[in-house]
Symmetry: C2
Subunit: 339 residues, 2 copies
Amino acid sequence: MVGSRRVTLHEVAARAGVSATTVSYILNGRSDQMRISETTQQRVRQAALDLDYRPNPSARSLRTRSTRTVGLVSDLLAGGQFASQMITGANLSARGQDHFILVGESQGDPDLEALLVQALIDQHVDGIVYARVITTDLTLPPILATSRTVQLNCFDVSAAAPAVVPDDYQGGRAAVDALLAGGIRDGVHLVGSAPAAGGTARGLRLDGIRDALASARTALVTEVGCDWSVPAAYAATVEFLESGGRPRGLICMNDRIAMGVYQALAECRLRVPDDVSVVSFDGSELAGWLRPRLTSVTLPYAAMGARAVDLLLSTEIEAPRVVRVPMTVSHGLSVREPG
Amino acid sequence: MVGSRRVTLHEVAARAGVSATTVSYILNGRSDQMRISETTQQRVRQAALDLDYRPNPSARSLRTRSTRTVGLVSDLLAGGQFASQMITGANLSARGQDHFILVGESQGDPDLEALLVQALIDQHVDGIVYARVITTDLTLPPILATSRTVQLNCFDVSAAAPAVVPDDYQGGRAAVDALLAGGIRDGVHLVGSAPAAGGTARGLRLDGIRDALASARTALVTEVGCDWSVPAAYAATVEFLESGGRPRGLICMNDRIAMGVYQALAECRLRVPDDVSVVSFDGSELAGWLRPRLTSVTLPYAAMGARAVDLLLSTEIEAPRVVRVPMTVSHGLSVREPG
DNA sequence: CTGTTAGCGCCTTCAA
DNA sequence: TTGAAGGCGCTAACAG
């Protein structure tokens, strides 16, 4: 423990000349319900102020069975800006409701994860946000069934816990809309393979992309396969271009792929956006660093984190089963101007 | 609160046929000191296991005055990988000592920061790590004087709290060594201006760079001024090159500057590393995404976070006033091979 | 309108 | 070697 000497409720009561009960009622805002005289209230509040009274959270928790803390357990915290944005959003919402966040990082190790969740429960957190840094279908660890839980950026269909995920289908449509707004209708290709396990983003985005293109009476030409990294995207795109690919628009599954695509296009003397328009997903800092600035459909991590904590702490009976947070387009200069 | 029904110490005692005191002693490892019979101990431990007993942290804290939590307050949590690496490192160390971390983000607002620190103290955290995302000289908020505190990536010389910072001087020398190892001795320039307020990294690195170059009987040619962002570095470098600059080696104050430098060099048809060798500071993900991979002197954020928590929770009397964590070179392909 | 009383679950001094 | 009792600081029945 830390800080200067603590003042107790009793000392406040003594100074105000009332009992501890009275002080408790007044300071917890139940004074009207008890109809305590205005002057007493003034006196008590003043005494609390004078003594700089701070309630002891342990004592309070012991009684109320609420610690005013929530656990946030994620596979990766150090995973760049996404993880930290989730924390920021979650923290913002938590602080707004006078809660703190206890963080836990499992590093993707299921055993460590189980330990972590158990430790959080042992700490008597008011609830747990179970987060993944990649949008994923999964099976929740069974311990979480005993705990108030919200899933963040992942989804176990068979779990009772609500889930907060990005609206990747709508995001897919938004990506196409960005291209269409630049007059790019034909020669649109996708870059990025389906990831190994559980990832749901690509499938949903692809549905959105196909539907939006179909509405414009056109369709995707090909899919350039590569994992979602800079060098892989670079290599795959170079090969695609050298084997005769002549794209007008490229939709990249994330900003790192887009970076690799930029490198490949530069190498093949194709200019963005004059020759090829590029759109991607993530809305990471990277998008702003590339030249020309990349148009990217943003993953709303901060909003998702905030929403998850809201759900966790809300007392509503009728919570939605799954919340899809909309993705908005962050406009750069990588899509041709129309005309 | 969350989780299934709680088992109390008394229930364990009842099942083992002893008193709560005995159980407490045994479970807290003070059994030998009390010389409790081996069989009793077995019986008690088994009972605790059978009932899946978990001590109530609030009750325990109320008595012991330790909450087994530490606060981590930073100006930015959402600031990319650095902030999250500090959290990861801090968390790792905290978990290793059976503590949890409560995060706080001030967004650089001093009022919010004071509120946050106060809230952390009110929560009875065992200590506070006060962190900055940019290495900075500053004045600690006075309220921290009442709290056990460690400074992370910042330094208030007049404060009693120890500080953990990167060893930027040594990092500067390491950057030069990387160039020297590639046979680059002359024509070395620096890219990146002194930042506005409090930042200490550049000055220390510059000292290290100058000393290391002097040891090699050479010196920095010029300093290309720009703020530490991609577009600024790009613009400044283009201008430098167009006005006749013919560098052989460029030392960039961070990886984003290096990215801008790459863009500028490409535009001016200069190749990395054949024409120009590039070294930078940060060791961020970005360094691995650039082509060719960037050689970068890594900021050891995770190690620093861990060290800070170690210091905070250590009971050593003789704590060092300031810990400088070494920076290591992450080798890419942006420095010419010797020969 | 206010005070008395009784715990929340745990640790720890003291007595046996 | 073990148990009884008190209290950490707070909240909430229940009296008055």
